[in-house]
Amino acid sequence: MLIGTISHWRKQLLAGSISPSELVEEIARNIDSRNPGINAYISANKEAALAEAARADLSLPLGGIPLAVKDNICIQGEPTRCASRILENFVSPYDATAVCKLRAAGAIPFGRANMDEFAMGSYGKNSAFGATDNPAAPGHAPGGSSSGSAAAVAGGMAIAALGSDTGGSIRQPASHCGIVGLKPTYGRISRYGLVAFASSLDQIGPLTQNVEDAALLLNALCGHDAKDSTSSSHPTEDFTAGLGRDIKGKRIGLPKEYLSSGNDPAVAAALDKAVHTLTKLDAEVVEISLPHAEAVVAAYYIIACAEASSNLSRFDGIRYGHRTANTNGLDELYSRSRAEGFGPEVKRRIILGTYVLSSGFYDAYYAKAQKVRALVAQDFTAAFEQVDFIIGPVSPTPAPALNDTSMSPLQVYLSDIYTIPANLAGLPGISVPCPQPEGARPIGIQLLGRHFAETDLLRVASALESALA
């Protein structure tokens, strides 16, 4: 169902066999026919995309390429709803820096991808605009929170998409939908114009059909931004430089804590296969240990919810967003607007975050979690003294059925165990699909690298992708 990669369409555009407007029309046709069943998009403004296509500059690296954008990344003049009722009528007055950079590279933002509300969720079900189906495993969740971004790409309704990853929200839906998802190093891509969930964990990144496209998008997206004080001044590079090169002698760590009996047999088999494949490519796979691996979910949900409770306090019904019609005073205006605007998972996390930051509990929960976070980061520092990369699962299981309501919030949180560490430690991570038998649900393999080692990470990911294909 895929629609052709960025490099495929760039060749077609440069050869003149299709025009940018015709490419937008082709994608719009797929959206019209498939989106009613998949619900990957909340909206798609074809007229705006066609207007940009008409003046597309094909000499630019992404010239004429339409890209889907997650609904929490601002596009000027377009709704940015974060799949929430509280922002249902919000129209962004500016472009996120990531969107500016895509435009500067010639790309055309087209389509607001559905998501878990405010990026809080693992299955795409927490959207005020309805759940998203998984085109690669119909009837199953596409993963989350970048559910629509992954489903749009997997369903041939986008060439590639932007997502955001706070605890796995790019890598896990990529894994469940059988595509590639890259979370860059913290600070690689400006967060200006990304609606904040947990500011010390959030990172924008690409969801693509292959590793090469992820490198091409990263080339356009990176760089310091004065509007995001945490964006890094680390030099950008040509992230395609390592693609197609051998990985002989690279040392890849397999954490023994990731070989849990809780992994689905299909996930364990995919990991085995990937490890075997890397060995055949003359990489050296060695067992390592991440002693605090079991602590990450507890530390993460305290930190992420604490930051969220603070970040989401701006949604108060005053300056923008939903305001209740039913109020007698300011205090009621706040609490009722928020009650009407936020969905259940967002409320749950705001309350958890408010609790762990409240007087008397701060040290026991929030400060403790930040200390355990330091221990988790130290595990990786030690591991990267022995190895160049770390391999592991993305998710303990393939995508659950869409109508599966058996999991408690805690059980859903626990499924993020393998993706959370990269966010806590700020490391780059990528999910690469491990091809499955016909009819089986997709499964991705995760590779993690040192801070700012994306070029090398993409090199190993691309070698693995080619050898698995």
Binding site: S200, S335, R338, K347, I351, Y355, Q370, K371, L424, H451
Partner: protein, 99 residues
Amino acid sequence: MDTQALIDVAYIAKLAKVELTAEETERFSGDLNQVLAYVQQLEKWDTSAVEPMYHPLPVFDALRPDVPGESLSNEAAMANAPQQEDGQVRVPKVVESAH
């Protein structure tokens, strides 16, 4: 520890300024007491010699020169305001008028 006693959801919801229904209060109490019971496991890690890590990478260059730049027009900044008057946001009365 009695896990039902960990969090008073109704009180915290007031602090967070989110009005909850009785049904939500009860459901979230169950959900969050389960989550809080789970996160107690952090106690088992010795962190006496560890500094808290508030940020994944050291940030040294967060300050920039304070110079005027381009910003949104009043009209653009106000375009999303749910209620406005004379280019300003309207809110319910917050102080009693002095007589």
